[in-house]
Symmetry: none
Subunit: 203 residues, 4 copies
Amino acid sequence: MAPEPRRRLPPEQREKQVLDAAVRVFSRSGFHDTSMDAVAEEAGLSKPMVYTHGGGSKEELLRRCIRREADRLLSSVSGAAAGAPADAEVRLRRGLHAFFTSVTTHRDGWSVLYRQARTGALADEVQAARTRIVDRVAQLLAAELAVPDGVDPTTVTAPLAAALAGAAEGLADWARDADEPDPDVLAGTLMALLWPGLALLRG
Amino acid sequence: MAPEPRRRLPPEQREKQVLDAAVRVFSRSGFHDTSMDAVAEEAGLSKPMVYTHGGGSKEELLRRCIRREADRLLSSVSGAAAGAPADAEVRLRRGLHAFFTSVTTHRDGWSVLYRQARTGALADEVQAARTRIVDRVAQLLAAELAVPDGVDPTTVTAPLAAALAGAAEGLADWARDADEPDPDVLAGTLMALLWPGLALLRG
Amino acid sequence: MAPEPRRRLPPEQREKQVLDAAVRVFSRSGFHDTSMDAVAEEAGLSKPMVYTHGGGSKEELLRRCIRREADRLLSSVSGAAAGAPADAEVRLRRGLHAFFTSVTTHRDGWSVLYRQARTGALADEVQAARTRIVDRVAQLLAAELAVPDGVDPTTVTAPLAAALAGAAEGLADWARDADEPDPDVLAGTLMALLWPGLALLRG
Amino acid sequence: MAPEPRRRLPPEQREKQVLDAAVRVFSRSGFHDTSMDAVAEEAGLSKPMVYTHGGGSKEELLRRCIRREADRLLSSVSGAAAGAPADAEVRLRRGLHAFFTSVTTHRDGWSVLYRQARTGALADEVQAARTRIVDRVAQLLAAELAVPDGVDPTTVTAPLAAALAGAAEGLADWARDADEPDPDVLAGTLMALLWPGLALLRG
DNA sequence: GATGAATGAGTCTTCATTCAT
DNA sequence: TATGAATGAAGACTCATTCAT
């Protein structure tokens, strides 16, 4: 009798449908102010569907959102940095460019990663996602910086990477509220600020 | 265990008692995962006391916490930067030193300011607090940077300030999780990264 | 004990189930001394059901109770008065008879209408319900009374209707506490008291 | 040091001060929507004073208000009816006149008596107050009506008294909302409606 | 597989009431 | 005596989660 209003979809597409909706709503209202009803409505699905394809709980749903968006951002940055061989400056600039591009393009994903509370139950997941990115930056730096023999490069690069990533985040956040979505300009600004210092640190 | 269960206190002390407890609990669990019961228990008071001296609502309570911690941090940084006259490099270093000192000393205040969700009703307040700090940094930069005539210095300094503040936040966050609470080291690291670039930008 | 704890019912039945329970509890304890928990328990439902089917708030729930009971009473009286054509005395007697029948049969509904506080947020609703009934009586009177030309009949009938309705309420209230539920007797008493005066006023 | 701002008052005056304020506030907002703070503020006293001189609890405070206002109303009506000797009609008219005068003059007292919820804890007190008045009316009627020997006059007069009192209440309520505070008019209206019937019932 | 309907558990907030001064 | 300050207890309302269809 029912004209079969919504076709059955393969689970992967359903999961994407759910996660896409969840990212939109979470980025808009944050974890606690988002109700599962709102996610279901945004996805055009019923709530049990959201539970089935979203991990079974609201917390797990956000967890998956965070992981997916972190993956997206990380692979985008990594890909760019590791693209055609080039000198250090160019690679760093390319990485930043990719970062700002990604952040500007997927504003919702950015919000889910960087404007969520880093307290309580999901603090670890958010921290983990940010750490993965900072670690990746630290790796890139480690390859470039001159580190005296016998010193764990991490000791030197880790704080620098944290600062660099923070600078990028701060600038990205500023760009979101101001009206400067041009990745070229943003990457240029950050390079002008950071590269001289980094170049000196390379020895 | 408490020997004097009901002792009348001047309102200022009560408010401090309530805000101190609230900052501790909010920093631990975030806004939504914190119950007013938990705040009351942490303060060793009854819930009505928390309402009376905490602004009358949970939201207003967090608002006041944010303002107080932002004031504390801001005045600490401002005071240091504006201390004895000195050249630009020294002043920036002193400002950063004060920042890392404050952040390291008041870890809970830092969490309340920088690990809260920037979504929902209190996004404004958090953003405002952070903006006040970034703006202060921007002012300091504007006094130092060479800006071509006819150009609003803010246009140049605002993104730099955001990046600088972000770098400091990133480094502070790293310091919190790593075990490096020495403000000298942290300020030194950040200066080494940023000052060369800034010096060049001064022209 | 209940053999079918979760049975899906059509919304209309659920609403009736909720309103019936609410009328019982409100009539027993009044608005403020009634908790939504008590309504839920009386209905054999969970509290969210009461909210879903009861209008979303305690106030709206009582509002709906009042409206429903007023409708019931009003239609019962109107129907009787407007039944088969008859002279004025018979029609008034029939209206009173219907009133006392309804009031005696639905004691809870009567309490909700006539023993609620007429103060605060719901005063309007209670007054409105009573006014609808008094106005209906006034209409009946206006059709019978001789009113000098050029005089708004309401001026004459309104106070009489108020007095008449008040007399009926007072008698109904007495009948509720005494043990006289016979509508014939009650209507007869009231007719004996009022009709001679009304007949004279008809001119 | 304190200039002794409020003189110590004899307890009776304090009680009057408290009850006066309470009647005003209760009549305005009803029992449940009135806070003891509001009563204290209206009385210009501190809350413990209200408790000391108001009976020790909110419920007892309203109880006393009800009793006092009922006394006032009852003695006013009784006094008038029992004044100079006169025939039945005149005495009833005088009683009604006194009733409407009292009700018009002390609107707050009227509200406390007649617009409070007659449900829950204070139902008995309100009912008792109204019953005292109705009983007084019944007594007056019993002296006038012809009751067959061997019949308890109450059987006959009680319902009539209830109806009569109800009519008066209904008219008083109408007069409060309409703009007719003239006791002469109100008593006249009610006499025109009721006296013919009563006269017939006298046999 | 998909959903409308139902609920258990938990939170904010308010007030009548009472000490300690 | 008179009070500012403090609290215990209770109630409205919401939402993540899961059956029964």
